[in-house]
Amino acid sequence: MARDALQPFELQVLVAALRIGDDAYSVPIVIELEKYTARRVSQAAVFIAVQRLEARGLVTTRLDDRATDTGRTRRYVRLTPAAKKLLRETRDLQARLWRGLDRLIDRG
C-alpha cells in the first residue's frame, strides 16, 4: 500500500544507518548521504525521517547525554529486525525489477 511504502529519502537514511552501524546518529548519516549523493543533505530532513521511521517501528533510538568521544548529547539510531526485513525485500524487488535491463539502459 502506498501509505506503507518507504519514501526514497527514508530508504536512504535506513541504508546509511545500516552502513554506519552502532554509531549511527544524524551527523554521520548526513555526512554518509552527502558522500554518496554528492548533494547537500538537510540535517532537519534526517531528523524528521528518523522520527517517522521510529513511529513505524523501523528504528529504535537511544538518547546518550554524554557521548564518549565529545561529551555531547546524541540520539543514536538502530535498525529493528522489521527494518532489515523491509530492506531485504526492497533490495530483492529492485534486483528482480532490474534483471536483464543493464544492457538496455547502458546502451543509451
Binding site: 544524524s26 548526513v30 538537510s42 532537519a44 524528521i48 513511529a55 555531547r72 548529547t73 546524541r74 540520539r75
Partner: protein, 878 residues
C-alpha cells in the same frame, strides 16, 4: 525560532537536535568555512520547524498513532483544524452554487475595497514622492477664500527677501512645438528656475540638471524627462549636448531627469530654463512658486515673512494692482495637486465598502440557513460528546474556507482594478502612476478578510451551535422549523443589508440626478457644428506682430476655401473649461470699495469672425470689428448676457466703462455690445459672465474655430492638411468639437455615476436576493403549516399577503434605518453634486419606494409558491 522548536519538540529531542546540529556545524565549518556552515545551520533550523509543523499536522490529521505526552497536545489542535478544513472543503463542494455565490460576491467586495484603499493610499494619504516633501510648500496669493498663482514680481521679491526657505523655485506650464528630425509635435513643458530640481531633490539619469550658469544664457538649455527621452530619442545617452528645435529656435539638451520624479513632472516632456523679461507691471499671475522650509523655520514664521513681503510690494506696484488685501501665503502642495479628487475617491471607497458589508451579511444569512439545515448532523455530533466549542469550530472552518477563496478572488480583482484605474484614470486622477498594490494594501486585504470572516462566520456558528445543543435527535427533519435564534439572526442580517444598501442607492440616485442636470446645461455654442484646434506660431519664425498677422490671415483664407467650412474665427480660449485669462476689473458705475476685492470674469480674446463661427448671437449694441484690434483704437469689449445681468440686471450695459485689470491709470474700456452667454469656467459653475476683447495681432497661440456645414467631426483631417500646406513646421493639436469638449469636461462625473450606480445596483440586487432567500426558506419550512391553513379554508390571497408582509416588515425596518443613515451621510457628497441638494426629498422618497417595490417582488415569488401549496398533497405526504 527557538521558542517554536520548544513548542514543537519534546525536551530530549530538542537537546539532541541542537547538540547534533552544533556538531555538524563544527564539521562543516572545518570543511567549508564559517559562512556556508552558518547558513546551513540557519536553513536546517528553519527547515526543521517547517517540517515538524507539516509532519505533525499531517500525522494528526490522518489519525496516526503516536507516542503520548507533550508531542500530542498543541499539534493535535492543529490536526483537528486541518481535519475540519478538509471536511468543510468537501462539504462545501457538495453545494457549489452556495459556495461560488459567497466566494464571488465577498471576493469582489474585498478586491474592490482593497484596490480603492491602494488608490486612496497613493493619491491622498502618501506624502509626495519628493525628498523632504513635508518641508516643501507652495506659495500662493490669497484674498478671502480665493487662491491665485504668483507673478514674476512676486517671485523675484520672495527670492531676494525671504529667509525662512532654504531654497525657492518657480515654474510655468507651457506648450511648445518640438521638431525632432521630421516629427513636429506639440508637447507640454515647464519653464523653471535653476533651483527647481534641487528644491524637489530630483536627480539626472544622464548629463546634468540646471544650475545658476544656465539662467543668463538666453534660455536655450533644456532638460528632458525620462519618458520623453525614451519615446522620442530611444533613450540614447548621446542626446546630451546635442540640439533640437523648440518653437523654431535651437535648444541644447543639458541632461535627462531621472525616472523617479513626482506629479509635477508627470505628463511633461521637457524643461526650459527661465528667461522671463523684467516686469513692467505686477501681473500676469502664471507662476507656480515653491519654497523648501529651512529645517529650523516654522510654517507660521514663513507665513509672517511672506505677509511682510506682500506689504512691501504693494506700494511699489500699486499703479497696476490695487488689491491691498491680497497676501502671499504658504499653501499645501499636496492639496493643490490632489485638488478635489479626494472626495470622489472616498465616495467610491465608501461605495465598495458598503457592497462588501452587504455581501458579508448576505453570506452570513446563507450560512445561517445552511447551518440550520445541518442541525441534525450537528445534534448527532453533540450527542456523541462534541462540545459547543467543537461544533462552533466545525462551522467556523467553513467560513475560513469561504473567506480564503474570497481572498484569492479578491487578489485577482484588486490587481485588475488597480491596473484599470492606472490605465483609464490617468487623465483625471492625479498621482495615479504612484498607485501600487504593495505591502500596505495586502495588509488591508488581510485585515478586511479577517473582518469579513468575523461578519460571515461568527453569527451562523453561534446561532447554529445553540440550536444544535438544544435540539434532540427526534423528528425526521421535515417538520422542523428553524429556532427563534436562527430566524431572528437571518432577519436582522437582511434588515442590515437594506440599511447599508439604502444610502448607497440614494447616493447613486443623487449622483445620477446631478449628472442629468449637468448634461442638460447649455454650453452656449452649437456642439455639433463647431470644431476647434490649437495652433502656436514659433517666436523665432514669427517674431513680429506683422508676420504673425500675415500667417493668421492666410490661414483664415485657406480654411474658408475648404469645402464644408461655413465660417472661421480665432479665440484664445475654448468652452466649457478652458478660459485662458481670468482677469479683474473695476466698473465706472459700480466702483469697488477700497480694500474690497474687484470682480473677476473670463476675458476671451477673439477676432470679429469668432462670433459668427461659434454661433454667439448679438443681443444689443454691436460686435467687435477689425478696427477695434488696431493699437490706436480706443479699447472696447463685448460682454455677454450673464455679465450684463450680474452687474446691471435689466439696465442697458452698452456704453458702460471699466478699468481692465483694475489699472486706474489706464484709459477706460467701453462695453459696445451684449451677446448670448457661453460657459467658459465649467458647466457646473454659475454664470458670472464673460468679456470678449479683440485678439492682438502678435498673439501667437490661438484656437482655430470652424463652423461646418455638415457634422463637425468630418472636418478634423482638414486641419492638419491645411496647416501643413501653409507651414510644414507647425503642429496642430487638441482638435475637438464642442461636443468632445463638453464630453471630456463631464468625464469625472460620468465615471463616478457609473461606479456609484453599479455599486448601488449591486447593493440592491444582493439585498433583494437576501430577502428572497429568507422568505423562500420561510415558505419551505412552513409548507405543512400553510397546507393545514389552506385545508381549513385559508384564502391563497391571504397567504400571499402574509408572506409578502412578513418579508416587507424586515425590509421596511432596514430602509428606515438606511434613510436616517443617508440623511447623515449624503452631505459629504455636496462637492460632487450639481443642481441637486444632498437631501433631495424626491430622490430619498423615490429611491426608498423603488427599494421597497423591488423587495416586494423578491418576496412575491416565495409568496406565490406558498399560495400554490396543495393542501391534499401536503397532508397525504405528512
Amino acid at each position: 525560532m527557538r521558542r517554536l522548536l520548544k513548542w514543537l519538540l519534546p525536551e530530549d529531542d530538542r537537546r539532541a537536535f541542537e547538540s547534533e546540529q552544533s556538531e555538524l556545524y563544527d564539521a562543516r565549518r572545518a570543511r567549508e568555512g564559517d559562512g556556508p556552515a552558518a547558513r546551513g545551520r540557519r536553513a536546517d533550523r528553519r527547515g526543521l520547524v517547517m517540517r515538524l509543523v507539516v509532519d505533525r499536522v499531517k500525522r494528526s490529521a490522518s489519525g496516526a498513532a503516536r507516542d503520548g505526552g507533550q508531542r500530542v497536545g498543541a499539534t493535535d489542535r492543529l490536526g483537528q483544524i486541518w481535519r475540519d478544513l478538509r471536511h468543510s472543503t468537501r462539504s462545501l463542494a457538495r453545494t457549489p452554487g452556495l459556495a461560488t455565490t459567497i466566494v464571488l460576491t465577498v471576493g469582489l467586495g474585498l478586491g474592490a475595497t482593497t484596490a480603492m484603499v491602494s488608490v486612496i493610499q497613493a493619491v491622498v494619504v502618501s506624502p509626495l514622492p519628493y525628498r523632504v516633501a513635508d518641508r516643501i510648500v507652495l506659495v500662493r496669493t490669497q484674498h478671502g477664500d480665493n487662491l491665485y498663482n504668483l507673478s514674476v514680481v512676486d517671485y523675484r521679491a520672495i527670492e531676494a527677501q525671504q529667509t525662512g526657505f532654504d531654497e525657492v523655485a518657480a515654474a510655468q506650464l507651457i506648450s511648445v512645438t518640438a521638431t525632432v528630425g521630421d516629427a513636429v509635435e506639440r508637447q507640454r513643458a515647464r519653464v523653471v528656475t535653476s533651483r527647481y530640481f534641487s528644491l524637489l531633490g530630483l536627480t539626472p539619469v544622464a548629463g546634468r540638471l540646471f544650475d545658476r550658469s544656465d539662467e543668463h544664457a538666453g534660455g536655450r538649455a533644456v532638460v528632458l524627462t525620462s519618458a520623453y527621452w525614451r519615446t522620442r530619442f530611444g533613450g540614447d545617452p548621446k542626446v546630451v549636448g546635442s540640439s533640437f528645435t523648440i518653437d523654431g529656435a535651437p535648444h541644447t539638451v543639458v541632461g535627462v531627469l531621472g525616472p523617479a520624479s513626482g506629479p509635477l513632472e508627470h505628463d511633461i516632456a521637457l524643461f526650459e530654463i527661465e528667461d522671463w523679461p523684467t516686469p513692467t507691471r505686477k501681473g500676469p499671475f502664471f507662476l507656480l512658486v515653491l519654497g523648501r522650509l529651512h529645517p529650523t523655520a516654522s510654517r507660521a514664521a514663513a507665513a509672517a515673512e511672506l505677509q511682510a513681503i506682500s506689504r512691501r510690494l504693494f506700494p511699489i506696484w500699486q499703479s497696476s494692482y490695487q488689491d491691498e488685501q491680497a497676501t502671499l501665503v504658504p499653501a499645501d502642495l499636496k492639496s493643490r495637486i490632489v485638488g478635489t479628487t479626494g472626495e470622489p475617491l472616498w465616495l467610491v471607497a465608501a461605495g465598495v465598502a458598503g457592497v462588501l458589508l452587504i455581501a458579508c451579511a448576505n453570506a452570513a444569512s446563507l450560512l445561517v440557513a445552511r447551518a440550520l439545515q445541518r442541525r441534525q448532523e450537528l445534534a448527532v455530533r453533540a450527542a456523541l460528546g462534541a462540545s459547543r466549542g467543537r461544533i462552533i469550530g466545525v462551522l467556523l472552518s467553513e467560513s475560513v474556507v469561504l473567506v480564503g477563496g474570497a481572498a484569492a478572488v479578491a487578489l485577482a480583482v484588486a490587481v485588475g482594478a488597480v491596473r484599470a484605474v492606472t490605465l483609464f484614470g490617468a487623465s483625471y486622477i492625479p498621482r495615479v502612476n504612484e498607485v501600487r498594490l504593495a505591502g500596505p494594501a495586502l495588509w488591508w486585504l488581510a485585515g478586511l478578510a479577517t473582518l469579513s470572516f468575523l461578519l460571515i462566520g461568527v453569527l451562523p456558528a453561534v446561532a447554529a451551535s445553540r440550536t444544535a445543543r438544544g435540539a434532540g435527535l427526534h423528528g425526521g427533519g421535515r417538520t422542523m422549523t428553524e429556532g427563534p435564534a436562527g430566524k431572528r439572526a437571518r432577519r436582522v442580517l437582511v434588515a442590515a443589508e437594506f440599511a447599508v444598501a439604502t444610502p448607497l442607492v440614494i447616493a447613486a440616485g443623487l449622483i445620477m440626478g446631478s449628472l442629468t442636470r449637468l448634461l442638460h446645461v447649455d454650453v452656449g455654442i452649437d456642439p455639433t457644428h463647431v470644431i476647434t484646434a490649437s495652433l502656436s506660431l514659433p517666436a523665432a519664425q514669427y517674431a513680429t506682430p506683422a508676420a504673425a498677422h500675415a500667417f493668421w490671415d492666410r490661414a483664415r483664407a485657406a480654411f474658408l476655401s475648404e469645402p464644408g467650412v461655413a465660417a472661421f474665427g480665432y479665440a484664445d480660449s475654448r468652452p466649457p473649461v478652458d478660459a485662458d485669462d481670468i482677469n479683474n476689473f473695476d466698473l465706472e458705475d459700480r466702483p469697488t470699495a477700497p480694500g474690497e476685492q474687484q470682480p473677476l470674469c473670463p476675458w476671451i480674446a477673439v477676432t470679429p469672425e469668432f462670433f459668427g463661427a461659434a454661433g454667439v448671437v448679438l443681443e444689443r449694441g454691436r460686435l467687435l470689428d477689425e478696427r477695434d484690434a488696431t493699437a490706436s483704437a480706443p479699447p472696447v469689449v463685448v460682454a455677454d448676457r450673464a455679465w450684463a445681468r450680474r452687474f446691471f440686471e435689466t439696465e442697458d450695459v452698452v456704453g458702460r466703462r471699466l478699468h481692465e485689470g483694475g489699472c486706474a491709470t489706464c484709459p477706460w474700456t467701453t462695453v459696445v455690445g451684449v451677446v448670448s452667454t457661453v460657459k467658459y469656467v465649467g458647466l457646473d459653475k454659475p454664470d458670472e459672465g464673460t468679456i470678449y476683447l479683440p485678439i492682438g495681432d502678435g498673439q501667437r497661440d490661438r484656437f482655430l474655430v470652424v463652423r461646418t456645414a455638415g457634422p463637425a467631426s468630418t472636418i478634423a483631417p482638414t486641419f492638419r492638411a491645411v496647416v501643413h500646406r501653409l507651414d510644414p513646421n507647425l503642429a496642430v493639436s487638441r482638435i475637438a468639437t464642442i461636443d468632445d469638449l463638453v464630453t471630456s469636461s463631464t468625464e469625472v462625473p460620468r465615471y463616478l455615476t457609473v461606479l456609484i450606480g453599479a455599486f448601488g445596483l449591486a447593493a440592491l440586487i444582493l439585498s433583494v436576493v437576501g430577502v428572497y432567500g429568507v422568505m423562500a426558506h420561510f415558505v419551505a419550512r412552513h409548507t405543512r403549516d400553510i397546507g393545514i391553513r389552506m385545508a381549513l379554508g385559508g384564502e391563497p390571497s391571504r397567504i400571499r399577503r402574509m408572506v409578502v408582509l412578513s418579508g416587507l416588515r424586515v425590509v421596511l425596518a432596514g430602509v428606515a434605518v438606511g434613510i436616517v443613515g443617508a440623511g447623515l451621510l449624503t452631505h459629504l457628497m455636496t462637492s460632487v453634486l450639481f443642481g441637486i441638494a444632498p437631501t433631495d426629498p424626491a430622490t430619498f422618497i423615490g429611491v426608498s419606494a423603488v427599494m421597497i417595490l423591488v423587495a416586494a417582488v423578491g418576496c412575491a415569488l416565495p409568496a406565490r409558491r406558498a399560495a400554490n401549496v396543495e393542501p391534499a398533497v401536503i397532508l397525504r405526504d405528512a
